[in-house]
């Protein structure tokens, strides 16, 4: 089973977490075009490689955090805080 390292609780099984999808998405201004808004809502890089994503320790401390994870090997390359800038993996 995949394990993730919660910054607060340490290494725990995947079944304690939920994935919140791609992180570092920035909501555009509400005055943008439909195309820009649709791009923000739905369109994703969906990389075959390193993916920067957010996870929540749902069945633990309940905290959100960011993870850099490889989508083929599932190797976790780094765990960092929600407000940290993107790491230089990708």
């Amino acid at each position: 089973m995949m394990q993730l390292k919660c910054p607060w609780c340490g290494l725990r099984d995947e079944s304690e977490f939920v994935c919140g999808g791609t992180t570092h998405l920035i909501r555009p201004d509400l005055s943008v075009t439909d195309a820009t808004w649709g791009e923000y809502l739905f369109f994703r890089d969906n990389p075959r490689g390193v993916h920067l994503e957010r996870w929540r320790h749902a069945y633990g401390c309940g905290q959100w955090f960011n993870v850099a994870r490889h989508t083929v090997t599932h190797e976790v390359l780094s765990v960092y805080a929600m407000t940290d800038p993107p790491p230089a993996h990708s």
């Binding site: 995949m2 791609t22 649709g38 809502l41 994703r44 969906n46 075959r48 599932h74």
Partner: protein, 416 residues
């Protein structure tokens, strides 16, 4: 050669030395009218319908591995058309109707078995939503029948119907025309029929880039077997759609997830319908070989690993055994996962891309196998004519800009 009882007899008399490969393995030509990227069911069906419906026979189908080796070989072989919205009902029932005549049309037994699907309701809320679901289907002209608790018990006697069952069954509904089809046979049947009409099926040929011409128009592909030029290119690569889209310079509203399934050791006939329990995320049918084919929900994090999470495996096994306690002594033979391309409204995308000349068939998520004839038919139509088929018109990329989504998440049958 035509397959028939007579051909079999002739084979028997000649010690079976008369059989020829079902399709050729040609070297790629430098130029084709149309190139299709992806040799799964949808790509093979598109190649076949291009040749048959539109007379476009100078077609190459490029497959990175071997045909039918991706999601076409990794699904749970279920066919059904129990969707909610009229647009989806038309599309999926068109596919099911094609399946009903496909063995004869392709002269290849796809082993379609319309054994029906039983959807289980485990709560009062499930009963209400399934009544709404079945009624929506009937409004769309598709067969559906609400089942009482006793009718469900009669259809699947091994279900735990005791009062203290962990997931009590209160009723459900059925689509009788649903069932299973042999997944490999669908791929091989389409491949053989497309090849007979002149399509070049080229395996072990990975696309590594798209050639760009005047005005950004696509004019060909770079592959592991050289450069192949074509004015029109179709992508049917399921879970890897985003990878190909990136090579062509655009993004899709798609996230790739692993979807897993497994089979038990074979046993005598014990379950003659497909049983699906949306509430617990498990569904089961018995293959013609006797194996119990068990399907799970998605591993809910992005993945391109064709493995499947052990946490999800445990969950689906627990749910299956709660529904069918007598399966607890069975051993699992195999477990695997396919990479599926999930879009926000659980409906497909079939049509043009932002790159002129490049068309795509993707976004089938957890349910592409059942739709193979419709996906192939409509992709072939837009490749041949440059116009969307009317069945595919609602399923365009623009809907993610206009907001006209066709949200089938509730009918996808698998937890998203």
């Amino acid at each position: 050669m035509k397959y028939s009882a007579l051909a079999l007899l002739r084979g028997a008399l000649s010690a079976h030395r008369n059989w020829v490969p079902a399709w050729r393995s040609p070297e790629p030509k430098p130029t084709y009218d149309v190139v299709i990227v992806g040799g799964g069911g949808h790509g093979l069906a598109a190649a076949y319908y291009l040749a048959k419906n539109h007379g476009v026979r100078n077609v190459a189908l490029l497959e990175r591995g071997w045909i039918g080796g991706g999601n076409t070989g990794r699904n749970t072989t279920i066919v059904r058309s129990n969707y909610l919205f009229p647009e989806s009902a038309r599309l999926y029932d068109f596919a099911l109707k094609c399946y009903e005549g496909l063995s004869r049309e392709l002269n290849f037994n796809i082993m379609l078995s319309q054994r029906g699907i039983v959807m289980l309701a485990h709560s009062r809320h499930d009963l209400d939503s399934m009544a709404r679901w079945a009624n929506a289907m009937r409004m769309n002209g598709i067969d559906a029948q609400i089942l009482t608790r006793d009718e469900v018990a009669a259809r699947a006697p091994l279900l735990d119907m005791s009062p203290d069952a962990r997931f009590p069954v209160l009723g459900g509904f059925t689509q009788r025309r649903a069932g299973t089809a042999r997944h490999d046979a669908v791929a091989w049947g389409y491949a053989r029929a497309a090849d007979a009409l002149g399509v070049d099926i080229i395996q072990n040929c990975e696309v590594s880039g798209f050639l760009s011409g005047a005005g950004g128009r696509v004019v060909g592909v770079e592959t592991s077997r050289g450069r192949i030029r074509a004015e029109r290119i179709g992508i049917a690569a399921a879970g890897h759609s985003s990878v190909l889209a990136k090579l062509a310079g655009f993004r899709l509203p798609v996230v790739s997830y692993a979807l897993q399934a497994m089979v038990t050791e074979p046993l005598k006939p014990a379950l003659d319908t497909v049983v699906s329990s949306p509430g617990t995320g498990a569904y089961v049918s018995q293959s013609d070989k006797g194996e119990m084919v068990i399907g799970a929900g998605l591993d809910l994090f992005p993945s391109y690993a064709q493995r499947g999470s052990f946490a999800v495996l445990q969950g689906v096994i627990a749910a299956t055994l709660a529904l069918f306690p007598s399966f607890s002594r069975l051993r699992l033979l195999r477990q695997w996962a396919g990479i599926v391309d999930v879009v926000h409204d659980s409906s497909p995308i079939i049509g043009p891309t932002p790159v002129p000349g490049l068309y795509i068939n993707c976004g089938w998520g957890t349910g592409g196998f059942k739709a193979i004839p419709a996906g192939g038919w409509t992709l072939a139509h837009v490749l041949a004519t440059g116009r969307n088929h009317e069945l595919a018109e609602p399923f365009q990329l623009e809907r993610f800009i206009t907001g006209r989504l066709i949200d089938e998440a509730a009918a996808a049958g698998i937890a998203h």
